[in-house]
Amino acid sequence: MGTSGDEENGVAGLGRPGGTGQVAGGWGNGDLGSSDDRAQFSALLEDSVEDLYEHAPCGYLSTLLDGRIAKVNTTLLDWLGYERDDLLGRRHFSDLLTVGGRLYHETHFAPLLGMQGEVSGIALELKAADGSRLPVLVTSTVRTGRDGRPLLIRTTLFDARDRRAYETELLRARKEAERERERLQRLAATLQKTLLPPTLANVPGLDVSAYYHIASVDEVGGDFYDLFPLAEGTWGLFLGDVCGKGAAAAAVTSLTRYTLRAAAVYNPDPDAVLRNLNTVLNHEYNGADPRFCTVIFGLLTPDPDRGGFHITLASGGHPPALLMRADGTTDYLPTPGGQLIGVLADAHIATTAVRLAPGDTLLLHTDGLTEAHVNAVDGVDRYGDDALLDFARTLAPTTASATVDAIRDLLDTFGSGVDDDTAVLAIHVPRPPSEELQ
């Protein structure tokens, strides 16, 4: 800052609005037509030193090293509503500050000034005679005598009311944006909830557990699952993944869920259910913005003779289910040849049937789990189907809730490596109490 001399101060003060030379030249040539005007203009320029000090567009203040006010300009007096005699020799610079400002001055401003000889652009608040506050930007320089000893402190103060208003506005806009984001996240969470069943149907003789891992709080994912009663003694279940994210994917997810439930009531044959879904999605979405899903649909029927359940699974291009037997044998239940749903007019649906005996657990999952980023091993940085199979083998024999808990823990260890939503649904046939004792 130009605090080394009064003339420099004056020039800096005039120059601030936009270039001294240009402005003076423009007025001199254009508007100052009469000789009288020109004379007044020259006079203002010539004896400007005192005037510029007193009526500069900023406040000037000179204080002794202990802060006592030795000189002050009219601009600052006007801002604060003081008479010159109120301040000179009577008040310290810190007396003009608010309590918070005084504290900051004492702990930061003054020590820094002592060390560096200059402090610039510090935001402080002045307290006017009437108690009102005035935000200012303060710059101070220590002036020394010929022998280098510090003699006094020169301080320039800029009115920062506009700047404060601007900052307040910025802060308000940021708070508003944060509120908007929270609203959006609440909306996404609510929408997500409507795409998942509030509770899974209670199937007598079956232990059921499910979990939905949300990868992003800002975007609705496209994974879905459900388990619900059909005709007497049978249940339908499904789990799938609609491609994409966000509102458009959520619309497809919603359509898919309701179509699956309605189609299952109409004809519970799993192959027919997925065929119906394929027709609906294929009619709805094609061309440049294709929408599809991969899904497994299962029809559960209790086995009245031997206990447990029969399940027929139909797969439309979905990762295969994992079967963990009561004896610990664990493998994928392949449904090869099934095609994703919604893209092809006559998608092939693959089906398989299996009996779930007491002690068996079946796990359905979406690929958010197997496509999670993990620490690279041999250049492969995705978790993968083989790793999941190995993991399931360590769990078996197990239960539905133990399986889902283990997968939740597994997803937690991946942390931010899970960049897509993940849904898991496990069903387990508990052993009869008599068997558990053995």
Partner: protein
């Protein structure tokens, strides 16, 4: 972790070829989709997607491959995939796309195998 996608298109006698390298996912799929309308593809030709350097393909990647297929079919052209890496061909098998896209070991093999259809 994530490999940025790069996309190159060229024109072969049999039709347009798109060469992809890197991760074909939620973030990069729109870029491929945007390249489709600008392709020089005439009826009877074949669009080849060379996936030789694709490191990852998720459901968004599959979506854009299907969009490419729809685009080619609308133009009266065919579509083929070339040099499909193992992890990608595994995903294709799971979702049954191996039965939808003709697959060739290289882009050149895809072009050689192409027999222009009448029209």
């Amino acid at each position: 972790m994530t490999q940025r996608l790069t996309l190159r298109t060229r024109t072969a006698p049999a039709g347009a070829v798109i060469e992809l390298a890197g991760d074909l996912d939620h973030h990069s799929a729109p870029e491929v989709r945007a390249a489709l309308p600008g392709l020089d593809l005439r009826p009877g030709q074949q669009l080849v997607l060379d996936l030789g350097d694709v490191t990852f393909c998720d459901s968004s990647g599959i979506t854009v491959l299907i969009a490419a297929r729809n685009h080619a079919l609308t133009a009266g052209a065919g579509i083929a995939l070339a040099a499909v890496p193992d992890p990608v061909s595994r995903i294709f098998r799971i979702c049954g796309l191996d039965q939808v896209f003709p697959v060739h070991p290289t882009a050149l093999a895809a072009e050689t195998a192409w027999r222009p259809t009448a029209g």
